[in-house]
Symmetry: none
DNA sequence: ACGGGTCTTGACGAGTTCCTGACGCCCCTG
DNA sequence: CAGGGGCGTCAGGAACTCGTCAAGACCCGT
C-alpha cells in the first residue's frame, strides 16, 4: 500500500516514514502543497497523511482540490486543536483529524482504519470508447488522446464526478465559472456543444452528454 | 438517517440527541450494551455513537460482536485518552475515536464524515416497476428511462418525498409553481395527467398517483 | 507587435414546454 | 331527477429552451 506523507517538519517525516515502513507500506514524502498535488496526480497513492501547516498552499486548499477529482482517504494532521478547523477539514472530505502531539501508535491505527474503509476507488471511468482519467486530467477516445480546453475540462469533470446523475445548470456555472455566475446558460450550451463535438460519435445525437431541458446535464455511461 | 446513541450518561445523551435532531437525524438512545446489540439488530440504524464505558458489557465487546455481522459506521466515545485503548478500538473496526471532553461541533462533524463515507447507498424509491432516484433526478419504468419536464419532475418530487402521504393542492402549487399560486388546480390536473401517462401502466386507473378528491394527491408505493 | 488558441457574447431557427380554456364525465347533494 | 362541483382530457398558441454559428475580446508565448 502506497502512503503519501505531506509535512514540512523533517523530524515528523522521518518518524512517520519509519513507522509506516514497519507496516510494509511504500512511503512517498513531500514537504509542500504543490508537490503534494503533483504527487497525488502522478503517483496515485492509496492514502494520504496531510499536515495542514504547509509553506505554500494551506493543507485545506490541497484537500479541497484533491476532493474535486479523487476520494482517496486523507488523514489530516494539525497543530491546532480548534474545533472550527476540525469541522472544516472533516466537512471538506477529510477522513480523520489528528491533533499534534499524538502517539505514533494511534496515528498508525487511524491510518489503518482509514485504509480499511477505503472503498473501491474508481480512478478511471469508461464509457463506450471513452476513457476518462480524472487524476491525470486525461481523456481518450478509442485510444486517441482528446485535447480539452480548461473550461471544457472543468465542465466534463463536474459531470463525470457523479456519473448518471443530473447536474443543475446553476451548479455547473457556479462550479466552473465561479459563484458570480448562474444565469449564463448560453455558456453551457456553447461548451457542452464543444465537448460533444470532441467526445461523441454523433454530436447531434449524444449518448453520453445528455441534456435535461430546463434542468441541467448529465453524463451517461 | 437513523443514529443509535449508546451512552449511560444522561446529560450527554440529551445533548447528543438535540444536536443530531437538529441535523434531521432520527435518534435512538440506549444506555447499556445488551440494549445496544438488540437495537442494532432490530432497528438497523445507519450509524452508531458508542461510549466505551457501559454498565454491563464493555463498549469494546459490543463493537466486537457488532463487527461479526455488520459494517455500519461506529464512532467511539471514551473518557480515556490512552493510546492502547484507541488502537484497540480502531483495529476492532471502529471508524473514529473521540476522547471526552469534546466539542459537540467536532463530534457532529466526525459523525457526518463517518456517515458520508458509508452512506454512498442511494435512497431509491421502488414502486412496482418504477424506480425513482431523487438525487440523480432519474426515473425508470421497467428499466427504461422516463423523460420528465421540469414541472413534471417538481410535482413528482414533491409527492415522492413523502410516500403514501397526502399532499394538499395548495402545497403542491406553492412549492412547484411558486408562492403566488394556490387556486390554479387545473394546472395540477394537467400535469398529474401527464405524469400518469408516462408512469402508470393504465393511466386511466392509476395505482401510484392517487387523487384525493377535494384535497390533493398522494404517491402510493 | 503578432498569431494562435481560448473565452465571451449575441442572434437565429427548431423544437419543446407551459399555460389556458373548453368540454365531457363522474359523484354527491338537494 | 336536476344541478353543481371536482376531475380528466385535449388542443392550440404563447413563451421558453436548446443547439449552432460567428464575430469580437482576451490571453498567452513568440
Amino acid at each position: 500500500m502506497k502512503v503519501l506523507v505531506v509535512d514540512d517538519d523533517a523530524t515528523l517525516r522521518r518518524t512517520l516514514a519509519i513507522g509506516l515502513h514497519a507496516e510494509d507500506h511504500e512511503v512517498l514524502i513531500v514537504a509542500d502543497g504543490r508537490s503534494a498535488l503533483q504527487a497525488l496526480r502522478e503517483d496515485r497513492p492509496d492514502i494520504v497523511v496531510l499536515d495542514l501547516g504547509l509553506p505554500d498552499l494551506t493543507g485545506v486548499e490541497v484537500l479541497r482540490q484533491l476532493r474535486t477529482w479523487s476520494t482517496i482517504p486523507v488523514v489530516v494532521l494539525s497543530a491546532r486543536a480548534e474545533s472550527a478547523e476540525k469541522v472544516q477539514a472533516l466537512d471538506l472530505g477529510a477522513d480523520d483529524y489528528v491533533t499534534k502531539p499524538f502517539g505514533m501508535e494511534e496515528l498508525l491505527a487511524r491510518i489503518r482504519a482509514a485504509a480499511r474503509r477505503a472503498g473501491s476507488d474508481i480512478p478511471l471511468l469508461e464509457a463506450g470508447d471513452l476513457v476518462i482519467d480524472l487524476p491525470a486530467r486525461r481523456v481518450t477516445k478509442a485510444g486517441a488522446v482528446v485535447r480539452l480546453t480548461p473550461t471544457e475540462w472543468g465542465l466534463l469533470e463536474m459531470l463525470v464526478r457523479t456519473p448518471g446523475r443530473l447536474v443543475g445548470q446553476q451548479d455547473l456555472l457556479h462550479e466552473v465559472w465561479g459563484p458570480a455566475y448562474g444565469r449564463e446558460t448560453n455558456y453551457l450550451r456553447v461548451y457542452v456543444g464543444g465537448l460533444r463535438k470532441k467526445l461523441e460519435d454523433d454530436p447531434s445525437r449524444p449518448r453520453h452528454l445528455i441534456t435535461e431541458p430546463g434542468m441541467g446535464y448529465r453524463f451517461e455511461i
